[in-house]
Amino acid sequence: MGRLGSTFGALATDGRKALLAYVVAGDPEPETTVNLMHEMVSAGVDAIELGVPFSDPEAEGPVIQAAHERALAHHIRLRDCLDMVSRFRETDNETPVILMGYLNPIESMGYEAFAARSAQAGVDGMIIVNLPPEEAGVLMKSVHAHDLDLVYLLAPTTTDERAAMICKASRGFVYYVSLKGTTGAATIDVNDVASKLDRFRRFSSLPLLVGFGIKNGETAARVAGVSDGVVVGSAIVDLMARNRDDPVGLNRSVVGLVTEIRQAMDAGR
């Protein structure tokens, strides 16, 4: 069983919900990322989503767009992201790491090289925002051949017919985008999320995680109550932007937020 499977298995045994944290690789400095990944794991994060910088991140709100731009100012490439995962793996061989990004850098590297190098670096899976299952056939073969999980997204606009197809194609977990909008948009309506997840649940036995709009412990706990876990992105990246000139303050504030969310989620179980 891969790291994702064992992580979700252990969480289920403990009756706990998953907390995933998203940061953009190389934001605000290339040196920030690996250390911060470890710090977040120590503070209670179950898996890391590592954003791969792209020049045209069309699904992101302003907070994460700015993070992509900061990383690109340091010329962080897909291969640099993979190097960061390798370095993270030197001292952490348990916590799953999922790459999150857009297709074009992967096309440039080549599907097979991307899958092989990801597996070698210790990546566990990937979420490719602008790659729906209909277009993913060729990449999926390479990714699965290297025992990596390609995770697909569900949205509020997803029909039952599509949800069934997406849940069948997804591996590792399924990611429900809780809002019509970009990352970092308004706060979510937990009741609405609960009813959507009820509808999607019958299509999949995989963990159903919820992202977009989760900004604090209170929301995270309520969303975790109706799902298998949450993904926190913009709230973390926003703190990083505010503290970008102060590495110590940056780590402290992110660890503070993650700790608050972890405690709220565990208290709510």
């Binding site: 792209f54 020049s55 045209d56 731009e69 850098p105 606009t157 909008g181 970009t182």
Partner: protein, 364 residues
């Protein structure tokens, strides 16, 4: 069968295929939130495109509002000066709002009306598509927001003023390179947020399926008129058709009705900027590579790590790092050929056309 032969043996009017592809190009590379909206748009379009009531509404607006048909003009002095081919100009500049962009905007605004969407959004670079979108929004009583890079807003203040006069809101885009590609990103972000009440009018034959198909279909009026006009004015078919290619909507519009006329050379002209070797150009078909941007697979200007690079052309209307997927496919199949003209050559042609024919064209 080789790619070259493919262009000769297949019905070139049968594309895109059912999944929205032109060979390996095109497709739907968007976030999940938009997938259902794209399917709905395609269904709506397929149900209306042969509907007599819809077609007569479109036809009536093209005639009485846009001012079609546009003339096919024999450029006698230019022909004499150049000393080669007999040159005809299809005068899309004489349309309402001064460009071909409105052909597509009228069609898509009618679609929006039929889908019950009270709001439209658009991206614009030079401002022509923004002005055409603002114009049809006023014409059909739709709310309109136009996304425009802050660099372009500074360069194209007259068009910004026109859009505002027409009642549209112009939203400055300050992310990325602050130009057309970033305006397109921002329009996608708006659409993902407001997809329930908003129709996104993409201005060129790019973007996710069904946009390359429906924009091409709405622009094909250019080629259909040209075919009929040429036949009655000159007789037969032209030897060649030449059109500029940024995203490629006017070129696709004039090429499409001639795709099966294999005696007619189809020549697309990209912007070579400061030269194809300089890196400062907007010629993905001539000097780019295949990738995925803005919802489709096509030729792109990107670096070896897959980051989109900034383009350069003296013509703001061609300053875009991608190109419509059907052009990518026509290039590979050999049915159309794509060349590039640099800034100097474009300026020279611009001056020549002014002096010899009394026509002030856009730089492209």
């Amino acid at each position: 069968m080789t790619d070259k032969q493919a262009g000769k043996n297949e019905n070139l009017h049968a594309f895109p295929d059912a999944s929205g592809h032109f060979g390996i190009y095109g497709g739907k590379f968007v976030s999940e939130t938009l997938m259902t909206a794209l399917t709905e748009l395609e269904q709506e379009y397929r149900s209306l495109k042969d509907d007599p009531a819809f077609l007569s509404e479109l036809e009536s607006d093209l005639r009485h509002y846009v001012g079609r048909e546009s003339p096919l003009y024999l450029a006698e002095r230019l022909t004499a000066e150049m000393g080669g081919a007999t040159i005809y100009l299809k005068r899309e500049d004489l349309n309402h709002t001064g460009a071909h962009k409105i052909n597509n905007c009228i069609g898509q605004a009618l679609l929006a009306k039929h889908m019950g969407k009270p709001r439209i959004i658009a991206e614009t670079g030079a401002g022509q598509h923004g002005v055409a979108s603002a114009t049809v929004a006023a014409r059909f009583g739709l709310a309109c927001q136009v996304y425009m890079g802050s660099e372009d807003i500074a360069r194209q203040s007259l068009n910004v003023y026109r859009m505002k006069l027409l009642g549209a809101e112009v939203v400055p885009v300050t992310s990325g390179s602050k130009t057309l590609k970033d305006a397109l990103n921002e329009a996608m972000r708006d659409w993902v947020t407001n997809v329930d009440n908003t129709h996104y009018i993409i201005g060129t034959v790019a973007g996710p399926h069904p946009y390359p198909m429906l924009v091409r279909d709405f622009q094909s009026v250019i080629g259909r008129e040209t075919r009929a006009q040429f036949s009655s004015r000159h007789g037969g078919l032209p030897d060649a058709i030449v059109a500029c290619v940024g995203g490629g909507s006017n070129a696709m519009g004039i090429f499409y009705p001639f795709l099966e006329d294999h005696s007619v050379r189809l020549v697309g002209v990209e912007a070579a900027g400061l030269g194809l070797d300089s890196g400062q150009h907007a010629a993905p078909l001539n000097a780019g590579s295949v990738g995925v941007l803005h919802g489709n697979r096509t030729y792109l200007m990107d670096d070896e790590d897959g980051q989109i690079i900034e383009t350069h052309s003296i013509s703001a209307g061609l300053d875009y790092p991608g190109v419509g997927p059907e052009h990518a496919w026509l290039k590979d199949s050999g049915r159309a050929e794509y060349v590039a003209v640099d800034d100097e050559q474009a300026l020279d042609a611009f001056r020549r056309l002014n002096r010899l024919e009394g026509i002030v064209p856009a730089l492209e």
